[in-house]
Symmetry: C2
Subunit: 167 residues, 2 copies
DNA sequence: CGCCAATCGTTGCCTGTGCAACCAATACCA
DNA sequence: TGGTATTGGTTGCACAGGCAACGATTGGCG
């Protein structure tokens, strides 16, 4: 089996080459982009990733419930809960009870929250743009489509989101 | 200013649409693939992501130092340190002092470690394959190339050092 | 109508990990 | 040669976030 102890200290038979393993490469890319963005929304505005997502979602939809912040279970509900609590304490988000269903609450940006949103969003978009600047528009579209298909497939392979469905 | 308060409770002017924001989508995909893989190496073999990476790297290169486990600062050195310590305690990895430079130590898989490697690796590859099964070989190559270019670019935009792994 | 199940959101607990300070060993250089 | 800078690796500290149990409310079905 294999080449014994020749060449360059390669193990008997390398089954996985990490640098070519797709999940690894996606994770590395995700980490790098997160890190690039964190320079902006964390360092400069004191926003965590969950907080940033809440802000952006509310900037997009005006008012939403906490559950809507994590459309596909992308964030855990406890994560959302704490992010919203922090934003509320900072006066960036307000809650109004939903009188039709008092289990949930409406969330919305305060003027201060919207101000931050309008400051951070363009900067985030600028980072995205610099990132994508190495791809042609054509390639960007291709990438988006591929990511979509992979994401759909990954959702099938990942553990069901209804994990907490059983009491 | 835009359409006022028409339609569907859209905010004044949505600057960022989260679902189309590339860093977000990459992060979501990364999270899903990690989650799919975690079913295997975490649930079934009790390996964290850092531990998995150490095992794979050692399966690939026989012996390496701890620093080699994180080629581009992909993992923080403290993360590697603790992962190695845990693997050593479980008897999956051994350390030999490097007499030429006693600051570092050589790492290698024990027979038990290699056994786990040989059990986990094929399963991980199977997940990758199921993931990629929605793409043609052509598309897979395209994706790999695009990810590479994005990763290179992201490395320029990210702060020179710390990047972390998704859980 | 009444009871059980499901849903929204919060919180205590615990693990993982980034950060920075630190130790030991080596490299660099005047 | 001696002193300082660098590097490999570890560890205390703090904090984020997943999990699960919980309270409150609502829905569904007999």
């Amino acid at each position: 089996m294999a080449t014994g102890s020749a060449a360059k200290k390669q193990a008997p038979e390398p089954l996985v080459v990490l640098e070519q393993f797709l999940p690894y490469r996606i994770n590395v890319l995700a980490g790098l982009t997160s890190s690039a963005l964190a320079q902006i929304y964390a360092d400069r505005y004191g926003l965590s990733i969950p907080a940033w997502r809440v802000i952006v979602t509310l900037g997009q939809y005006e008012n939403r419930t906490a559950r809507d912040m994590a459309p596909d279970g992308v964030m855990h509900k406890s994560t959302v809960s704490r992010a919203v609590a922090a934003l509320e304490k900072r006066g960036l988000v307000v809650r109004r009870p939903n009188l039709d269903d008092r289990r949930e609450e409406w969330l919305a940006l305060t003027p201060e929250g919207r101000a931050i949103y309008e400051a951070v969003a363009p900067e985030a978009l600028a980072v995205e743009e610099r990132l994508l600047s190495v791809l042609t528009p054509q390639e960007q579209a291709t990438l988006a489509a591929l990511i979509d298909r992979l994401t759909r497939q990954a959702r099938l392979l990942a553990p069901q989101d209804g994990v907490e469905a059983q009491t």
